[in-house]
């Protein structure tokens, strides 16, 4: 049953970056037959409510009406929990994943930060010095 719940979660996309699932984002902390434990990326992330709603909907549609959703803050989410598959999908989508900074457009490592804060709480604004394109990059926290 745990695997079945996990499969449901793997099909729930992040509402802001729909190419990756909530599992690939690394915010699903624990799955049991009673509850799904999630953790927010940032304290004020506006997607938090949407994520809880989307997970509830997916669980209900799969018949898991009694599986609760719990939020836990500790240990705090870190970009280290993002899966390898999630990172590849981000890069293909045009967002540089955490880790070594490369341009998602041309692959160059000659990049620099424009601003520590970007279009969402989890991203910073970078630019590529090779192809001159700006891009979003996941903040490493």
């Amino acid at each position: 049953m745990r695997d079945a719940i996990m499969a449901v979660l793997e099909a729930v996309p992040d509402p802001e970056i729909p190419v990756i699932s909530v599992v690939e984002l690394g915010i699903v902390r624990e799955v049991t037959e009673e509850a799904v434990v999630v953790t927010p990326t940032y304290s004020g992330c506006p997607a938090t409510l949407a994520i809880a709603r989307d997970i509830r909907k997916a669980l209900d549609e799969a018949g898991f009406f009694d599986v609760a959703i719990r939020t836990e803050l500790a240990p705090a989410w870190t970009t280290d929990w993002m899966t390898a598959a999630g990172r590849e999908k981000l890069l293909a989508y045009g967002i540089a994943p955490p880790g070594v900074a490369v341009c998602p457009q041309c692959g160059s490592g000659q990049v620099e930060e424009i601003s520590r804060f970007g279009s969402t709480p989890c991203k910073a604004l970078w630019r590529c010095l090779a192809c001159r394109e700006p891009f979003d990059r996941f903040k490493c926290i």
Binding site: Y42, S43, L73, F117, P121
Partner: protein, 227 residues
């Protein structure tokens, strides 16, 4: 035992400063700064929700409490002023929050420790953003230096309050952090006469009432309105 007064103070700090930063939305000197200030405000709003929820109904506490029930420090309710003053306020406050959360992450109260552990990671970014701008403006043109020094001077009088009560031990670490940035920015450390305090006890400057009038208007006029 959770220290309810402390949770309320930290929730109010974050709520009021988050509101102040939201006032910059669409008005910041550049798009990147606009995004940064909005993002910092959003982090703070999230922190406020966590802390206030430990004390009671977070929405009711934010929207239906009178001014003298708020125990945020005076620093966070001060008007934005120009960008330099906002930077000074942010740096002085975030540097304090960073140290305070690092300590609180080891708190015996698991719920406070959890919020602190999470918030600390966000605040490290806030402090570094503000420190960058302290240096850029302080070590910039004559005009940017003058404004940065003025902003710092204005905010400085409210910093004593950050170290009231159980937070007195954070002072040495904060002094070291602040002095290092001031040195790099070429800014003199302002001389503190008598520090202005009172916010933690609910005695506020005239500015908080104006913030609440705007922030609480809708919920006071139409209780429990949703959209």
């Amino acid at each position: 035992m959770m220290d309810e007064k402390q949770a309320l103070a930290l929730g109010d700090d974050a709520l009021i400063l988050g509101h102040r930063l939201s006032e910059w939305c669409g008005h910041a000197p550049s798009l990147e700064i606009d995004l940064a200030l909005a993002n910092i405000g959003l982090d703070l709003l999230g922190q406020a929700q966590f802390f206030l929820a430990l004390v009671g109904d977070a929405d009711a506490l934010a929207y239906r409490r009178d001014e003298d029930g708020f125990c945020n420090c005076l620093l966070v309710e001060q008007p934005n002023g120009d960008f330099a003053r906002t930077v000074a306020r942010q740096f002085l406050f975030s540097a304090w929050q960073e140290l305070m959360f690092a300590e609180m992450a080891g708190s015996a109260d698991a719920r406070m420790a959890a919020i602190a552990g999470k918030a600390r990671k966000e605040v490290i970014y806030h402090a570094s953003f503000a420190a960058d701008w302290m240096v850029r403006l302080g070590d910039g043109t004559d005009e940017s230096h003058r404004r940065m020094a003025e902003g710092l001077d204005f905010c400085w009088r409210f910093t004593d309050e950050l170290f009231a009560g159980s937070w007195a031990g954070l002072r040495a670490g904060w002094d070291a952090r602040v002095d290092a940035v001031l040195r790099e920015a070429g800014l003199a450390r302002p001389k503190l006469g008598r520090g202005v305090t009172g916010g933690r006890e609910g005695r506020h400057s005239e500015h908080l009432g104006h913030i609440l009038a705007e922030m609480q208007y809708l919920q006071r006029s139409f209780p429990d309105a949703v959209w």
